[in-house]
């Protein structure tokens, strides 16, 4: 037992050390940017997973939350000079409110109908932003987007001249969301979510307030997703309605989480990092060859993963992880894949 614990801790330490020293070795801004984007996507997929993975709800409209977070924070910053470090919490708060407004009527819907509703809301929000030039004193910018005003090197305003600080912020955000996911998974709410994922009617019959459990989990998910949106805005320094709110954003979160292993703590992280890295690599090598070829290859990989490893990449890793720890019990194996992957 103790040997297992030591191995677990040393593995965590190893990953943390690797995470923190990467910028010492990767000095070219482009490469560091790519790695940073991998972390951001891992973060966003994990945020999506907090509700959708754990509770088995297919939201295809999480771009709404990245957009609300990003726009609120950027508008406060552009027009009122409020630091995005503060604005991000205003944006996240707005996203939480919105998640409740959306969740209240849609959580009655089951399966495909819920997914369709989120698609509709997601597309609606894109159109809404594209046709809004200003909101009271705030400039929204409509379809041409919103440029984040440049301050130079201003750490207090979430702006840095080098890529390194962005990398470390993304890393810390990812660590926080993983710790939160781990806590949530093992909390009472986490068990409610697994129960209602497996059988909502049975969960209801036992006295679980299914709608409230969903609302709370969706609020957590919206909060973290919105913070990711603010980060994205500050990293790219330009908000384009379709990129921040559109189906690309929403679907990507779902792909990464599902391919990695939705409903597990580390699945979305694994999916986010590996899949995004693959997409960058094929874009780098095939991007010029033919228009859209890299997207086609990327799509194929997603399809094959879903066909042959429906539980996600995490399922493969779990096997090696257990072997490393010296656990061979099959019953335990099956359970840990579902529940405590990579704890």
């Amino acid at each position: 037992m103790d040997a297992v614990k030591t191995k677990k801790i040393s593995l965590i330490v190893l990953f943390l050390v690797i995470g923190f020293i990467i910028p010492q070795f990767v000095t070219k801004p482009y490469y560091l940017h790519v790695i940073t984007m991998c972390l951001l996507w891992a973060y966003l997929a994990s945020s999506w997973n907090l509700f959708c993975g754990f509770a088995g709800q297919l939201s295809l409209g999480h771009g709404v939350f990245t957009a609300v977070g990003a726009y609120v924070a950027v508008m406060l910053f552009n027009d009122y000079n409020i630091s995005p470090w503060i604005g991000m919490f205003a944006g996240a708060g707005a996203a939480v409110l919105l998640s409740i407004l959306i969740g209240y009527p849609t959580f009655k819907l089951r399966g495909a109908y819920y997914a369709l509703a989120t698609v509709a809301i997601g597309s609606g929000v894109v159109v809404l932003i594209e046709n809004t030039q200003a909101l009271g004193p705030f400039r929204v910018g409509g379809a041409e987007g919103l440029i984040v005003k440049l301050m130079g090197n201003a750490p207090a305003f979430f702006q840095f001249m080098s890529k390194q600080p962005y990398y470390y912020i993304a890393l810390v955000m990812l660590i926080i969301v993983v710790l939160f996911a781990f806590w949530l998974k093992n909390s009472r709410l986490g068990y409610y979510l697994s129960a209602l994922k497996e059988d909502p009617e049975a969960a209801e019959a036992l006295g679980i307030n299914v709608r409230n459990a969903k609302l709370v989990a969706a609020a957590y998910s919206a909060f973290f997703t919105a913070i990711g949106g603010v980060y994205y805005a500050m990293l790219i320094r330009y908000l384009e309605p379709n990129a921040i709110a559109g189906p690309m954003m929403s679907n990507e979160m779902v792909f990464l989480a599902v391919v990695g292993g939705s409903g597990t703590v580390l699945g979305p992280v694994v999916g986010g990092i590996t899949l995004h890295a693959i997409s960058e690599v094929i874009q780098f090598y095939f991007g010029d060859l033919a228009q859209g070829l890299h997207l086609f290859i990327y799509g194929l990989i997603v399809v094959f993963m879903i066909m042959f490893k429906p539980q996600g990449i995490i399922e493969i890793l779990q096997k090696y992880y257990n072997r490393f720890l010296g656990i061979t019990d099959r019953g335990e194996d099956e359970k840990s894949v579902k529940r405590t992957a990579g704890s």
Binding site: R188, A195, A203, G207, G331
Partner: protein, 238 residues
């Protein structure tokens, strides 16, 4: 003295435009086992679902322990002590037996009593204690039914409503399950039993209602109903 625990008056409910339960009135007294029997599609499950709040009542009254409950959401009705063992067991297949039982006691009033309730359930259903760490999907049908009953008991029911507990079980297991129900009743828990297995259900219960096309066709003591020529012909094949 007979205490009325659950009274239903002129209840109507159904799915949208389709009316399933038509003007049903019935009474459940404290400590009884009451059977609700009837053919497929008679509305037995719909009646239970309306009582537990999963399907909203269109009109009529459901009074539990002096309180109107027909407008309450399911989790609040469960909190009052009306707990359902759903048809087809509906256990959580990826949870272990132990976790399935724990999730039966999510209500604040039951959390404090969790340890005692667990002991009681394991005493009543020793099979579950043996299978404690096993995942729900690996249990046999009978064991799953016992788990569903144990899970409901963790919620400390005042009325336990069982929907077709004998469904898909071998005759021997059916007897076992009915024995367990009788034991639960002897611990002071009122039982409402919905069954297609009319003969066994009537043997176990004091009173019964026969549901036909969403209406109460017959009611009275179990003895009276089992000897009713119509029932004999229609349900018992005699």
């Amino acid at each position: 003295m007979i205490m009325k625990l659950l009274t239903i008056k002129n209840l109507n409910s159904g799915y949208g435009d389709i009316k399933v339960i038509k003007n049903v009135s019935l009474e459940i007294n404290t400590g009884e086992i009451v059977s609700i029997v009837g053919a497929n599609g008679a509305g037995k499950t719909t009646l239970l679902k309306t009582i537990s709040g999963v399907i909203p009542a269109e009109s009529g009254e459901i009074v539990f322990d002096g309180k109107r409950i027909e407008h309450l959401p399911p989790h609040m009705i469960t909190d009052l002590g009306i707990i359902q063992v759903p048809e087809g067991r509906r256990i959580f297949p990826m949870f272990t037996v132990y976790e399935n039982l724990l999730i039966g006691s999510v209500l604040p009033r039951t959390i404090k009593e969790r340890k005692n309730n667990l002991e009681r359930v394991f005493e009543l259903l020793p099979r579950l204690a043996e299978r404690k760490t096993q995942v729900g999907s690996t249990l046999s049908g009978g064991e799953q039914q016992m788990l569903a009953i144990g899970r409901a008991l963790m919620g400390m029911p005042r009325i336990l409503m069982l929907d077709e507990p004998s469904l898909g079980l071998s005759p021997k297991l059916v007897s076992t399950v009915f024995e367990i129900i009788s034991k639960i009743n002897s611990q002071g828990i009122t039982v409402v039993l919905v069954e297609q297995n009319v003969k066994q259900a009537l043997k176990l219960s004091q009173r019964a209602y026969v549901l036909e096309n969403g209406m109460i066709a017959l009611e009275g003591s179990a003895e009276k109903i089992i000897n009713d020529p119509q029932v004999k012909k229609a349900y018992l094949g005699l």
